[in-house]
């Protein structure tokens, strides 16, 4: 086993990608000094980003990487997830230093909790990175469940009443939901084991093995199993009506963690769902899972639209906007044509970028205003000019204003809806998007351009917290104009992986 370990560069890269956060978590446990643990986390997350970027050319060239006898399996779909996780992770670690530092100065967290925060941060990155690289669907499930456990600890960090309530609900709902997903996984495994008599249990649960055999699965069993999977991973991915934990958890977590939860974790769960969508499409054709994805997505959009309209809390509004965008991605995958899936995968990245920017800037804003209420937060542009400007950009981007990146992917997704002749679904999507545009826009304008309620010093908080936001804003602008060549190929390859199921090849 260890002879193959160093046989190729990419296997070394994958292993060190996974080991980096673990090692840094251990170092933090040992070192404990504030400055040192901050630097360790930044170094580890930047190493993760660099390793992720180095993996990219290998995946672009070879399409798939399979190491350790197929224990780890990476294709373009995994690569998209790895890039998203490592990018948001890196920026969140930069932002954490300033944000958590200020909470530390305000005595909201003490040294012990800070150590716990950075340990949790690293372990959170590790568990999320484990999801896209594991081929064995059982291990993928274990990794997703582990993300729940780690993020519960991060959400309850402040141990306020609200955060305890949020983490309790999150723990219960996500665990019950994921146990349903495990039922589904076992059904798929059973379907596989019935077909394949020469069965060895190590590979029977591999995704690659299942996709190969999927054509021979019992169709009724696959339908049954996919419903379990959809409810299970859908709970974790924030699809309505299983979304009830999400606004609480995302609004009570520390802001950098909210960014990771909204921007990345939801996508990790959706990635799990996609993998089974592919198996099920190979087995019984894509219509069944496509319809279900469209229905759940539309419900999510509707609930998000209503909740954003009546929302009073900034971070809850952002959380509901995440439900909206997960719904949008799900609908658009459900449209089942190249354009739609391409748009959805592009949207995964775009949404992660924009939502992180919004959570970062709203974190600084609520630290300055000492409130999360929308009504009490007004005139940001006058009190914090730079942060206010970036919050405005993020807000305009998230509701789909033209020069920014989300507009691009939303346009692709909507036009795919019409060209795949899902007129009713597309009309509903447009209706809900318009409602969200108006209500989110109204809240946004009030927050940015209103009159500040009390006299406040005109000052932005923290130079270091500006850096990740500036990086994100420039990504938003660049991706709004064009998608870089390698990324384009990557998303195209990933789209083909999802779509091939449709042709039953």
């Amino acid at each position: 086993m260890f002879t193959n370990l160093f046989s190729s560069v990419e296997s070394v890269l994958v292993v060190s990608l996974l080991l980096t956060p673990v090692v840094s978590g251990l170092l933090i446990t040992l070192l404990k000094r504030k400055r040192i643990i901050e630097t360790t986390t930044i170094i580890s997350s930047s190493l993760i980003l660099i390793q992720g970027l180095f993996l990219l050319p290998y995946i672009l060239e070879k399409k798939t990487i399979s190491i350790f006898d197929g224990t780890f399996y990476l294709d373009s779909l995994s690569a998209i997830m790895i890039i998203t996780i490592s990018l948001v992770g890196f920026l969140a670690s930069l932002y954490s230093v300033n944000y958590m530092g200020r909470q530390y100065d305000k005595l909201i967290v003490d040294g012990k909790k800070l150590v716990r925060y950075y340990q949790g941060f690293n372990m959170f990155l590790f568990t999320m990175l484990l999801v896209p690289v594991s081929n064995n669907l059982g291990i993928m499930w274990i990794a997703i469940e582990a993300t729940t456990l780690v993020s519960v600890l991060l959400i309850m960090l402040y141990t306020k009443q609200g955060s305890i309530e949020a983490s309790w609900k999150y723990l219960l709902i996500a665990t019950v939901g994921l146990s349903l997903a495990l039922f589904g996984i076992i059904f798929f495994y059973y379907a596989n084991s019935v077909y394949d008599n020469s069965f060895d249990s190590t590979h029977g649960m591999d995704w690659t093995n299942m996709v190969e055999n999927a054509h021979y699965f019992d169709p009724n069993l696959v339908k049954f199993a996919f419903i379990f999977i959809l409810v299970g991973f859908g709970t974790k991915a924030g699809l309505a009506p299983m979304h009830t934990w999400l606004p609480d958890a995302h609004s009570e977590a520390p802001s950098p963690i909210s960014a990771l939860l909204s921007g990345v974790l939801l996508n990790c769960a959706f990635y799990g769902l996609l993998r089974f969508h592919i198996i099920s499409s190979h087995s019984i054709g894509p219509e069944f899972s496509n319809t279900l994805l469209i229905i759940l997505g539309i419900i999510s959009l509707g609930i998000a639209a209503a909740s954003i309209y009546f929302q009073k809390d900034v971070k809850r509004m952002l959380a509901f906007s995440s439900i909206e965008h997960m719904g949008l991605i799900s609908v658009s995958v459900g449209f089942g044509i190249f354009l739609g899936i391409y748009g959805a995968l592009l949207h995964v990245i775009n949404h992660a970028v924009v939502k992180s920017l919004l959570f970062f800037s709203s974190g600084s804003i609520s630290q300055k205003y000492q409130t999360k209420s929308i009504a009490d937060t007004s005139g940001i542009i006058k009190t914090m000019p730079v942060t206010g400007f970036m919050f405005l950009i993020g807000g305009l981007a998230i509701i789909g204003m033209p020069p920014f990146n989300i507009f691009m992917s939303e346009f692709l997704m909507l036009s795919s809806g019409f060209s795949s002749e899902n007129f009713l679904a597309s009309a509903l999507v447009i209706l809900f998007l318009v409602v969200i545009f108006a209500s989110f826009g109204k809240h946004l304008l009030h927050m940015v351009f209103g009159n500040p309620k009390s006299e406040m010093k005109k000052e932005d908080l923290g130079k270091l917290s500006m850096l990740p936001m500036i990086i994100l804003v420039s990504i938003i602008f660049i991706m709004g104009i064009y998608v870089p060549e390698p990324l384009q190929t990557l998303i195209e390859d990933a789209t083909k992986i999802i779509l091939v199921g449709g042709i039953n090849s």
Binding site: G138, T159, G162, L171, S201, S251
Partner: protein, 225 residues
């Protein structure tokens, strides 16, 4: 495989399934925190026995290891952790005083859930292997009863016990249907459950410190109105 089973073995399967259900009802009918944990422990010990029995019938040696792990982690360590937590809780009353659904109705509801599970298991397109036909409905029952415990009780601890019951049902289902997937996944699952119990114990402590009780009625302030 089913035609190779001796009549005594089939009897053993049935008897163990019934005992497992009785132990599960032990959680439903009792009020005390420690009663639940005892009932959970019995349930898990029987589960470990069933796993070993299936291991014996199918002669898959890995299932013996899984059974031993179940016994060690889920029947010994997890109840110990939870007993420790209940002992340390501040609130003097360690009883479920008035659950949302009274215990009498809970028993009837659970019985209906068991009946529903048997009905559901018949609908499934899964082969009628003897072990499967005996244990599939039982595992569904465990799942539904666990879910019912979660939504019908007021104390946070009973919700943890409900989750653990769900987990046991899931585990039984996995072992029966797949005859054990690879050992590494089983170990990962166990580790996940163990960490989950520890995390929820920490939360329980925090809850009783912040709210002076582990009543989940306190946890209703976050909502959109």
């Amino acid at each position: 495989m089913s035609d190779l089973l001796l009549p005594t073995q089939i009897d053993l399967l049935h008897v163990s399934a019934v005992i497992l259900l009785i132990a599960t009802f032990g959680i439903v009918v009792r009020r005390g925190f420690s009663d639940w944990l005892h009932a959970y422990r019995y349930q898990t010990i029987i589960l470990a026995g069933i796993v070993a029995l299936i291991g014996f019938i199918t002669s898959i040696w890995e299932l013996y290891i899984v059974s031993a792990l179940t016994l060690g982690i889920k029947a010994i360590i997890i109840p110990k952790v939870l007993f420790y937590v209940t002992k340390k809780l501040d609130s003097p009353i360690k009883l479920e005083m008035n659950p949302y659904v009274s215990l009498r109705i809970s028993v009837i509801a659970s019985a209906l859930l068991v009946a529903m599970s048997y009905f559901m298991a018949l609908q499934l397109p899964i082969s009628s292997d003897e072990t499967i036909s005996v244990f599939l409905p039982v595992s569904f029952s465990l799942f539904f009863i666990g879910l019912f415990i979660i939504i019908s009780r007021r104390k946070a601890l009973s919700q943890i016990v409900g989750l653990l019951t769900i987990e046991n049902g899931l585990f039984l289902f996995a072992v029966v249907v797949t005859h054990g997937f690879s050992l590494i996944i089983e170990i990962g699952l166990m580790a996940d459950i163990l960490v989950g119990v520890i995390v929820s114990s920490i939360l329980l402590f925090r809850m009783s410190k912040t709210f002076d009780s582990i009543d989940i009625e306190n946890l209703e302030s976050l909502r959109d109105d």
